[in-house]
């Protein structure tokens, strides 16, 4: 693996050297290599096998505050020279921005902490293993019940990547990471022949942390089966219980609204609310890029800044925004190590691992306390206005009657305003679960509008 981890760093360094030699006073270069392999089966037959290695580089130059980025998947010397020339030409016709620049060297990583991001087994996973896992996952779903009548397929994939960054202040670093994922979708059949589908997945940095293939398959089947007979609900205002996976999505929305770029653009409902109670005291949300073995972890961010733990909401109080260097400078803040970088374009703000922390409530009790309400298991569409906080999305789930999960519902809509919704969280479960890079427990909002018949 030594060759894989050093090669991108050398490539990035070569590109940066050429840029400096050509007159770029301030620059950084990114190189990424990635080997991805996946096997998909459907109805226990191979549907698709793919395997490829990809490599690309990107350069950012800043000339007197004039900024340009150029990327290429052609890494020949001629292409690197052309990349440098294009970047310089674009920067010259750009406009000066006093905040453009590289990361503060004082914030950059001096060493690479061991975060357990690389599973030595993954580069050695072969096609037979991917196939057998995908088959086992789908088989468990198909054989769970006679009413499981069809399949959207099961996929097992592995990825090995290396990210390298060098900048003209002298920073240079790279890290390799791995991931493995498995997902499956199956359909349960109604008496009239129509189908209800559901999927489930698992995704981790190391093989041994993945959920068992059979468990993933059975969970997908159970979810499809419990939607059998789903109808619409009547329009009403009721308590809504969010299952952990839905609550993890909610944490992602809050993190998106906590972007320093959105703050600069005034396009977030969290603007001007630092230090304010934006949620019920039961709510704590933490962004943390340093957790061992987690998909959202990395030793440094897309500008070389050391990653860290950033509390977003503590006991309902909004703690502050996530920043890259650029937005930190123009808002008089400090980078939170939240820059994400692809080879093309400027750094973008994003979270590391996101955790809506577990509370005290027994999840069964959270449901048992609801006389008439919705257990939310599916959200659809893009109906979130980050500027106003208005939230209106398609939904499906299970209706709660007298404290028990009763009949499934679909083709309904849930709506509210996020600031009000967060205040209405009146129970947080003790059952936090991880879904890739985010974690959340069951939670309940005392009231949301359900649109239906």
């Amino acid at each position: 693996m030594a060759a894989l981890s050093t090669e991108p760093l050398e490539l990035a360094a070569r590109l940066l050297e050429r840029a400096k030699a050509a007159g770029a006073e301030m620059a950084d270069a990114v190189a990424i290599t990635s080997t991805n392999a996946a096997t998909t089966v459907r109805k226990q037959q191979i549907e698709k096998v793919s395997e490829s290695t990809s490599r690309s580089v990107g350069l950012r130059v800043i000339l007197g505050g004039r900024q340009a980025t150029v990327s290429t998947s052609d890494v020949s010397d001629a292409a690197l020279d052309e990349t440098v020339q294009t970047a310089l030409e674009l920067a010259r016709v750009s406009e000066p921005d006093e905040f453009a620049g590289l990361a503060d060297p004082k914030l950059q990583a001096r060493e690479t902490p061991q975060l357990g991001l690389f599973d030595e087994q993954i580069p050695d996973v072969d096609g037979e293993h991917r196939l057998s896992q995908a088959l086992a996952c789908e088989d468990a779903a198909l054989s769970a019940d006679d009413r499981i009548a069809n399949s959207g397929g099961a996929t097992f994939s592995t990825n090995v990547s290396t990210f390298a960054l060098v900048d003209s202040n002298g920073f240079g670093g790279s890290y390799a990471d791995t991931s493995a994922s498995m997902w499956v979708e199956v359909m349960a059949q109604e008496d009239d022949g129509s189908l209800r589908n559901a999927g489930w997945s698992t995704s981790e940095r190391s093989l041994h942390r993945l959920d068992a293939a059979e468990d993933v398959g059975r969970e997908a089947a159970a979810r499809a089966l419990r939607q059998l007979g789903a109808g619409k609900a009547a329009t009403c205002e009721v308590p809504v219980v969010w299952e952990p996976r839905m609550a993890a999505g909610l944490a992602g929305i809050i993190s998106g609204a906590a972007s320093g770029e959105a703050l600069f653009r005034r396009s977030t409902f969290l603007a001007d609310l630092e230090g304010a109670e934006v949620a019920s005291p039961l709510v704590t949300i933490v962004d943390d890029g340093t957790l061992s073995n987690r998909l959202g972890s990395r030793p440094f961010d897309g500008e070389g800044v050391v990653t860290r733990r950033n509390p977003l909401v503590e006991a309902g109080v909004f703690q502050g925004f996530l920043y890259d260097s650029y937005n930190a400078r123009r808002l008089n803040a400090v980078s939170t190590g939240s820059a994400w970088r692809s080879v093309g374009g400027l750094p973008q703000i994003g979270s590391g691992n996101l955790s809506l922390e577990a509370g005290q409530s027994d999840p069964a009790q959270i449901i048992a306390e609801v006389e008439d309400g919705l257990y939310l298991t599916t959200l659809m569409g893009f109906g979130i206005n980050y500027t106003t906080g208005d939230f209106s999305r398609g939904a499906a789930g299970i209706w709660i009657r007298n404290g028990e999960l009763a009949e499934p519902v679909q083709e309904i809509n849930v709506s509210g305003n996020l600031l009000e919704m967060l205040q209405r969280i009146d129970a947080v479960g003790s059952d936090a679960q991880w879904f890739g890079g985010s974690s959340a427990p069951t939670l309940r909002m005392s009231r949301l509008t359900i649109s239906g018949t």
Partner: protein
């Protein structure tokens, strides 16, 4: 000037060393284990973007992406591999990886590649924006910025961007067919924030297509910017939307997103081959009101979703999907057309050489009806009028679909009245289309702003529709109100 297919073939040979002989050699490796079909998809894409924020250029960006995706087909199964390295050696290695889907030991017949000849005239433009100096693009962005700020004193921020690309594709197949295409794409975006008495409202607008600079002759940067500003300011007066099931009138143009979600995806043949779509096995059956005729048409001049050939090398055309409510056909790619025993419909598309093709929409629209658009509104006692949208999604299997309305109004007593805040609409495909009770004579295609996502792949598409009345759809507002009237 854009390039002809012959120019593109010449470009690959002279600039990248990829010619018929190289392709034949790679195809031989791809079929080295006896796969029944193989295809090479070469892509050379230059893209650029320029973003303008807070009255100055924030960033300029350029990228070059080139490589080949190699697909080997064996029955319904495929092997796929790609490489950015276009040396014959590297391509043959990738081909050997893709070949592993087949289990034979003997190679197939040698392939004799011949360039196909056809008319590639759906976006033969004179002035691709990719050839325009950056300073001219900055001038367009400045005009947009000034127009948006001048529209209303509450406009506090304007962000604008211009994104363009030129893509040269070369597809070589084991049946000997070689096709090439030059595909330009342009998009101009404006986002405005209105801030009034501490209340902030935003809106986005934009457009483009497979066009060059003449796009701006008909769509000035000012008009695009003023439209974004108008929508943002309008939102300052917006009321809470109602909750419940009500009649919905969809304005002509962008509302075509309804079709894209309600029937478009469900008619993609991969889902129907697998019988996982709620439209599976329903060819010839009634799936919509008799007023509804839906076409997917790759031939529209300069449209964002148009292609001369699809990404499997098939000629792309115009396909009737629903005729007066009856399901006529699915959109096919190679594998599904063989499964159904029908001709490929030219709908095999992919995001890039890193992705395998699948059935996708191009430009999807509903044909014009006979109603006066104003009459459709007058027929509604209480309902919603929808004009602009931020996106939609569908569950293929159960048919539930959503779309998010960013410019909507109440209809009260046959009149469009107050604007409403952002709201999601949800319905079920065949159910909603059976409730189409009026279709206007005013078919309009959306400006080129839509991108469709499926299985992790994005492709540019077009949508279009005349003004349409749906007698009932679930409106996801927050205002409780009972007693929706039927139209």
């Amino acid at each position: 000037m854009t390039e002809t297919p012959a120019d593109v073939v010449g470009f690959y040979a002279s600039q990248l060393g990829v010619d018929g002989a190289a392709a034949e050699s790679v195809l031989a490796s791809a079929l080295g284990r006896g796969g029944s079909f193989a295809e090479l998809y070469f892509e050379h894409k230059r893209s650029g973007s320029l973003s303008f924020e807070d009255q100055q250029v924030k960033a300029t960006q350029a990228s070059l992406s080139q490589g080949v995706g190699i697909r080997v087909v064996e029955g319904d199964a495929i092997g796929y591999a790609y490489t950015e390295d276009l040396s014959v050696e590297a391509m043959r290695r990738a081909a050997a990886t893709a070949a592993q889907i087949a289990h034979g030991s003997s190679a197939g017949e040698p392939v004799d590649v011949t360039a196909a000849s056809y008319d590639a005239d759906r976006y033969a433009i004179d002035a691709p924006s990719t050839a325009i100096p950056l300073t001219e693009k900055v001038a367009l962005l400045r005009r947009a910025d000034a127009a948006a700020r001048g529209y209303h004193p509450s406009i506090a921020r304007v962000d604008a961007s211009m994104v363009d690309e030129e893509k040269r594709v070369l597809i070589v197949r084991s049946d000997g067919r070689m096709v090439a295409d030059y595909q330009p794409l342009l998009r101009f975006n404006v986002s405005c924030l209105s801030e009034l008495d501490g209340e902030r409202r935003n809106a986005r607008w934009g457009g483009g297509g497979r066009m060059g600079m003449p796009y701006f002759d008909e769509h000035s940067p000012e008009s695009l910017a003023e439209e974004a500003a108008r929508q943002a300011v309008l939102q300052q007066e917006a009321r809470e939307a109602p909750a419940g099931t009500f009649p919905v009138v969809l304005a002509a143009g962008d509302s075509g997103i309804l079709l894209h979600e309600a029937v478009g995806h469900g008619l993609e043949a991969d889902f129907n081959r697998k019988e996982t779509s709620n439209y599976s096995n329903r060819i010839g059956q009634s799936v919509a009101s008799e007023l509804v005729t839906v076409i997917d048409d790759a031939t529209l001049n300069l449209s964002r979703g148009s292609v001369n050939v699809d990404d499997e090398g098939e000629m792309a055309g115009s396909n009737l999907l629903i005729e007066q409510g009856q399901l006529a056909a699915y959109m096919q790619d190679r594998i599904s057309s063989e499964h159904f025993g029908v001709a490929p419909s030219g709908n095999g598309r992919r995001q890039s050489f890193r992705h395998a093709p699948m059935p996708r929409m191009t430009n999807t629209y509903m044909t014009a009806g006979e109603d006066d658009p104003g009459d459709l509104i007058r027929r509604v006692d209480y309902g919603i009028y929808c004009k602009a949208f931020s996106g939609g999604q569908v569950n293929i299997t159960n048919g539930d679909f959503v779309f998010s309305v960013t410019e909507g109004y109440l209809i009260e007593n046959g009149q469009v009245t107050a604007p409403i805040r952002d709201v999601n609409l949800i319905g079920n495909g065949p159910d909603v289309l059976s409730k189409v009770t009026g279709v206007g004579h005013d078919l309009e295609m959306s400006d080129g702003r839509w991108t469709c996502g499926k299985s992790g792949q994005s492709v540019p598409v077009g949508v279009g529709i005349p003004t349409v009345l749906v007698s009932g759809m679930t409106v996801g507002g927050t205002q409780m109100r009972s007693g929706g009237m039927s139209a």
